[in-house]
Point group: C2
Chain length 400, copies 2
């Protein structure tokens, strides 16, 4: 039996980030930038107005001065109208400030106030004097051309993508999103909407994994259910085109453990027992095709726990993330529980600002599917601990 950390290290050492690919920014949310993005232009690109108002010679714009309005520059206009002494140009927010001007007087600092007509007025009277450069956003004030606007390794959210667009880019280089195949094995599995005969159960593992893969920032490229039949599994595996494969069931020591029968010894794939509860039987390795195969136990809570401890960090590493782990917090146990020491307990829990308690609705064991529906975190109880007392500090891995 190896420890949870040993198994995790073995997995993470085997899954480097996927190569960088060119990607349109409009479809890059959540991806990881593979190369620095630099400004193609200074930001802002040109001196522009921070307010709707009038571009002026500051020396002219004393309180009470009347200025003739000799032009009008809307946003987007290429115009650079001349402006003599005692003259002003009406200008809109974001528009290029005429070269001749050295300040912008906002609408509300003139006699005409903020009501704007389609036509510029003939003249205005200044009611508040501008400072030198007032309301002019200067070219390059935000960033110089060539400066790094978003660094390699950044996760691309709305704000980063906005900055990248402002920097003049539509195509960027990102780590490819892993395409993941999900295969649940078990002759007992039927469609959830079916009517189970004795011995059959609704299949839920592929539903859990498909959603979990998506939430990890990867893509589900195939979801398949196969019976405990080596030929059927081999045939499904042969048809895949994926960056990673997750299998559930058939990884234990049972006579019908088809996943182990088919994959053990292929490439570097090996089956082992990990000192965790639930989730003890685990298989992992790179197949002959060089991609990782995660062979998880079959019961749903084991699948949920194994995914969080091993698969999610690996998928995030493949996607180029450096922050691959869920946040952890410490809470006090609201109730105590006993357990057999020797394996790390990984328990679906609910928690608040102060405390944590098992999410189980009664009963115990790795088959308590219903407890998952209520849980918002996993408590991690070290292998050597044989009981948790009310008030003990517990490490909680937060899931959202």
């Amino acid at each position: 039996m190896i420890t949870v950390d040993e198994h995790r290290s073995r997995i993470l050492d085997a899954v480097p980030p996927l190569p960088a690919v060119a990607h349109l920014h409009t479809d890059a949310t959540g991806l990881v930038l593979a190369e620095d993005v630099v400004n193609r232009w200074p930001v802002p690109l040109f001196h522009n107005s921070g307010m709707d108002g009038y571009a002026v010679h500051r020396a002219d714009a004393t309180v009470g001065a009347t200025l003739r309005v000799v032009g009008d520059v809307p946003a987007g206009s290429p115009d650079d109208p001349p402006m003599g002494p005692g003259e002003a140009i009406r200008i809109m927010t974001g528009a290029a400030v005429p070269t001749a001007a050295d300040a912008v007087v906002p609408l509300e600092h003139t006699d005409l106030g903020t009501e704007v007509r389609a036509e510029a007025p003939e003249s205005i009277v200044i009611t508040t004097e501008p400072k030198d450069g007032a309301n002019i956003r200067r070219a390059g004030e935000d960033m110089a051309a060539g400066s790094v606007v978003v660094a390699a390794g950044s996760v691309l959210g709305p704000w980063q993508l906005s900055a990248i667009a402002s920097a003049g880019h539509e195509t960027i280089r990102v780590h490819r999103k892993p395409r993941v195949a999900v295969i649940s094995t078990g002759s007992e599995l039927i469609d959830p909407s079916g009517t189970p005969e004795r011995g059959q159960i609704p299949e839920s593992n592929s539903v859990l994994l498909a959603a979990a893969v998506q939430q990890a920032g990867a893509e589900v490229c195939a979801v398949t259910r196969v019976p405990d039949d080596e030929h059927a599994l081999r045939s499904v595996l042969a048809g895949l085109d994926a960056d990673a494969v997750i299998l559930t069931g058939g990884a234990s020591v049972g006579a019908f453990d088809v996943v182990k029968a088919v994959l053990d010894g292929t490439g570097s794939i090996a089956f082992t027992t990990v000192a965790m509860q639930p989730g003890k039987p685990q298989g992992f390795g790179l197949g002959d095709d060089g991609i990782p195969y995660f062979c998880l136990p079959g019961n749903p809570v084991s699948v949920a726990v194994s995914f969080e401890m091993f698969v999610r960090p690996a998928l995030r590493r493949m996607a180029g993330h450096t922050a691959i782990d869920r946040p952890r917090v410490t809470r006090r146990a609201a109730v105590g529980w006993r357990r057999r020491a020797g394996r790390m307990q990984i328990l679906p829990v609910v928690f608040d600002d102060q405390t944590v308690r098992p999410a189980s609705r009664g009963g115990s064991g790795s088959h308590m599917v219903a407890s998952l529906a209520d849980a918002t975190a996993l408590a991690l109880i070290p292998a050597e601990v044989d009981h948790v007392s009310e008030g003990d500090l517990v490490t909680v891995m937060v899931l959202s």
Copy 2:
């Protein structure tokens, strides 16, 4: 000028959750359940084995006893073989326990250990005596048929979806995901990859909003850029089929404020000023078509801030979420800054366990796009505060 809270309330009062629709569970990640999901069957469905091992009469299974193995029940088998005195049935994890058995002895509690052959052995010797009912997961032990497994209002993550599948459902009723149209207005806007002339800038607002809408759990149904031209905007609006529309630019008092010109007074749409910095000019209301129109200012930081304060909570409410707000934490200012009191300051910031500081890379003002790329949160400084001193407690709205 109205307060941020007043504008927010006006918006939230106008956007009820979207109606419930039937939805396949395989595509429901992140949606909100509109009706309780109950178990179609007891969970587990039938008494089943918690281990690979042998179903026995407990009274026979004393240490040293030899039991004849008279059958083999793999997972998924409908078999219920009879079992006389002194007899045992090999059984796999999850398989239905024969009616005649009252305990399961795991493989490792027999003389043959955990190595499993294709054929069941002829007999086994018990090395550890089972307790009554040992390793039998009893029908209904997890939940009774008809009991609620996931409650209306729950956000559907992997674990909830797994529980729903286990409960026998593939189709569920969820609140519809809002389909959102994004329109950026401005004759100065060009494609990010283009070469701007004097007065032009790369368009970034639609990129920001499309990504932000997706991250809020809604769907982008259209992304359009229109010049400052009333006819063009009317034509784009007429062609939409959306649950909500977000527009940027043209919401202020400028002469070319096309959004205001086209939408002010349509349905309940009204333009106002909100006591916030940035983001003062805001428009909102239901159009003649009954859907909400969010009319945001045009500069990118104002768009980012307006989305977080007003649009995101509204979209989440439409999607049926009850938790519509970002989490807030309190941190100490790592540096001080001065500001003009009167409007709530909403500032892109970075923060750690202890402190918070502006994300701006120098300069200030609502046009500092680059600061967004670094920011991980927004600091909320109350309207009446005219300076923040180093060490002051600051409210931080966390974005991830």
